[in-house]
């Protein structure tokens, strides 16, 4: 796989950077899952210190000259070229960001996170607005340092999704928006998927729900010797290494689909990481290539597989065994509960149909912020206006509106569009599989989950970060991001049922 001597030498040196990344990943996981509140100051500084140290090592003449030497090698294979590509990209980004700016962003976002948590608890935007203002200022500074073609937002988008431009996102939404609107209107008037399910109110015992999640993961053949399931307020996946990938979920005590589909969603992320070629262990290729492609995997499992009739049927016995109350409902009831469409002010509670409107709203606001065309204090109102326009509901509190997401407190402006990208790509993959007579729904029916995982491994996972996101899609699916397929999928599922 890696034969070139210079590349081999480079990978040996890279292990140090990998180790620091591993440490940071573990600290991040621990922050959310275990850390007592008192530890946050020390942890924040540890992360900031290790981040700047990583930057220094990456940019050290010793390392960059080796990358340069590697770049000049001839006859590199795809994987070796991938290594060079990823490192050159990292170096070119890091070179442009002054260490002091990196440190300031890291420190500011630590403080902003705590302020956001406070503000959210107290439903008081003013506790967070100053921090957000500073984060926007730093993000603009960051965009200027990174450089861009058309507008500052391009620079940030590219950080999260290599090669993605504001124009791409604009194009995607100009197709999605009117088409989604039509479908949502149809669903809301029809009331087959839009209704009050009594299952939303059924309370569950947390220990029993844990059993459900465990057995669903067993059924999906989650490798417990290479992963964990824990609890955190915001579910996430953390790949500490190719053989230690951890997911989380939450337990609210009612509306069990939230806890369940968080697990299935994170399982999709985890499976991507777990199925990367083991030869890439501890190399720059050892992770999913981008947030968008990653999200395509989680959404594929959560929505396309997870919210299907076949999957509902498959897991019904597990639900009946542990939750009990599901025995009073037939598979069709539970399927409709899983596929429920219901405009909600909260993104993380949104169904797959209304979800992208939440992203559109954030995308539009972030773009304005980055252009400096909006006063931070006007944001909450604008947020609510847009929510009313897109989904016909008006948030009743900051908590239901502008303060609901953690991302801005983490200084992650430009991150949200990758969620919609993931939704789109998941539907592209579905179309690709069905179009090639790989019937995922039949396979679920036959409990052949392993075959689906194997197929996704060959299609996407095993390559890790070898190819650029757009290149990977072209190579494996025949085209780049195309929003057509998700609309087709929505029409088939929600209109043509």
């Amino acid at each position: 796989m890696f034969e070139n001597e210079v590349i081999k030498d480079l990978l040996k040196k890279y292990k140090r950077l990998w180790a620091l990344g591993h440490a940071r990943a573990l600290m991040g996981w621990d922050n959310e899952v275990n850390m007592p509140r008192g530890g946050s100051e020390e942890r924040g500084i540890a992360i900031a210190e290790i981040s700047t140290l990583s930057q220094e090592i990456l940019l050290s003449p010793e390392f960059t000259s080796l990358v340069e030497k590697a770049s000049k090698q001839e006859d590199l294979n795809d994987y070796e070229e991938g290594v060079v590509r990823v490192l050159n990209r990292d170096i070119s980004i890091m070179k442009k960001i002054p260490p002091s700016l990196l440190y300031e962003i890291s420190e500011t976002s630590q403080r902003a996170f705590h302020a956001w948590r406070d503000a959210r608890e107290k439903n008081d935007f003013s506790l967070f607005s100053k921090h957000l203002e500073k984060i926007v200022k730093l993000s603009i500074e960051l965009a200027e340092k990174l450089g861009y073609e058309k507008e500052p937002y391009d620079a940030l988008l590219d950080l999260f999704e290599e090669g993605l431009r504001t124009d791409d996102v604009v194009n995607i939404f100009s197709y999605l928006k009117p088409n989604m609107k039509k479908i949502v209107d149809k669903v809301l008037s029809e009331k087959y998927y839009y209704f009050d399910s009594p299952l939303e109110k059924e309370r569950y015992d947390i220990e029993k729900m844990k059993q459900v999640n465990k057995e669903v993961l067993d059924l999906l053949e989650f490798p417990w010797d290479r992963g964990r399931l824990d609890i955190s307020p915001h579910p996430f996946t953390n790949g500490l290494g190719l053989n230690d990938v951890r997911i989380t979920t939450r337990y609210e005590g009612f509306d069990f689909k939230r806890s369940l589909f968080s697990v299935v969603h994170e399982f999709g992320h985890a499976t991507y990481e777990l199925q990367i070629d083991q030869n890439f262990k501890m190399t720059p290729l050892a992770s999913g290539v981008s947030l968008g492609i990653h999200e395509s995997q989680s959404r594929f499992w959560e929505n396309i597989i997870g919210r299907s009739k076949q999957f509902t049927e498959l897991i019904k016995p597990i639900l009946d065994k542990h939750l009990g109350f599901t025995r009073n409902y037939d598979t069709e009831d539970i399927y409709r509960y899983f596929a429920l469409v219901k405009p909600s002010p909260i993104r993380t509670e949104a169904d797959e149909l209304t979800y992208n409107f939440h992203i559109l709203l954030r995308f539009e606001l972030e773009r304005l912020m980055l252009k400096g065309e909006i006063n931070i204090n006007d944001l909450p109102e604008l947020w609510n206006d847009k929510m009313e326009e897109y989904l016909g509901i008006r948030p009743k509190s900051y908590k239901e509106g502008i303060l609901q997401d953690v991302h801005w407190s983490h200084a992650d402006l430009g991150y949200f569009p990758t969620y919609t990208l993931g939704n789109i790509v998941a539907a592209q993959i579905r179309e690709h599989l069905l179009g090639n007579n790989f019937n995922i729904y039949e396979l679920v029916n036959e409990k052949r989950i392993r075959d689906i995982k194997e197929k996704l491994k060959e299609l996407i996972h095993k390559y890790g970060s070898t190819y650029r996101p757009k290149d990977l899609l072209r190579k494996q699916l025949g085209e780049e991001y195309n929003p057509k397929y998700i609309i087709d999928y929505f029409e088939e599922k929600y209109v043509g049922h």
Copy 2:
């Protein structure tokens, strides 16, 4: 506290090293508490990489010249001098160890640990002996690099306990051995503390025992916002920072004192870390000064406080509330169960009276190993012979004998004597407090745990690593290690009862 500008600059630079130490501590904690088995290869390499990186940074001309400059400052206060002292010691040790040796020890011990775990499970010493042989070889190499006055063992002892020499340990044991022997013989013939307690066999529900441990920690005012209690096969304490100190225990389902006193023991360690002056946060002074002094704190709480009649009385309601079966026993029964003396082949199950014989045995074997005067394959027999000589019992398996401890697999030769040091110092502290009319037993009676913690803070904790262990003892207790007091304590408790 830190006023000198050079020191302040040094502490700022030191934060990077602290951050790497913090990361390593977290990785160590995670290894034992959370990590899925599959993660061990990647984790092992991450730890080795970060260890050598820390060494490089510590020894970089940039850092060492700053330490040198700081060393030449005049009018440093005790804390500033402490900073300089700790860093000079670290540098002088690390300078002598070639990075390749450090890396090899780290990697070898990762492998040895897994081999040990296997060997122990299968009760097959041959699976571990090759690894131990290599570890002894590397330890001798390490000792030679570090240098020593009289024998290689001195070099390793000093690593774990600054200033401790083999002669000190020999002197301690030549006083302890005959005196302990006498007391143990008396206790065994008398059968007040030596008997079969039915409580050893009482089975408990793990969830209920967790409640007991939680409430005992509440009673001891363990600060949950600055710490955690988890489960691990071998209980330990890990100070990730001054405001994030984590302890563990285990649950075997019977003989509840084991789980309980693991908690009280680790609480003692944790309290030391938690009560270090907050001004030392993220500095070289921000941890207990040595393993021996640390162990004195855990043993003080576990044995002197924990196994006292007063403490038994204090926690009896908690036991009765959750375990239930303790209601059939009076406080005297439970006290005698807590203070039970019973020669056991297993160190971690040993009572406070026979415990030091386990250390003596290990000390003697380690010394022979380091001198190269013993064949590794003869070790198991020699172990068993000594055990028979000291405690009159012969281990029936490797698991009960040579394979019981993890330390050698971690390449921690020279560590064991610090346990006996801790026992001795705990008794010195007891004598110091009682001699100064600070009646710990009365305070326990009055539930005034906070007063005891406050006293220990003033006596030992708040200084962190400011003073060398021997200096700290001289300054605060008036003398260095003195084995007399533990014998006095044993006589008072076990003979004079």
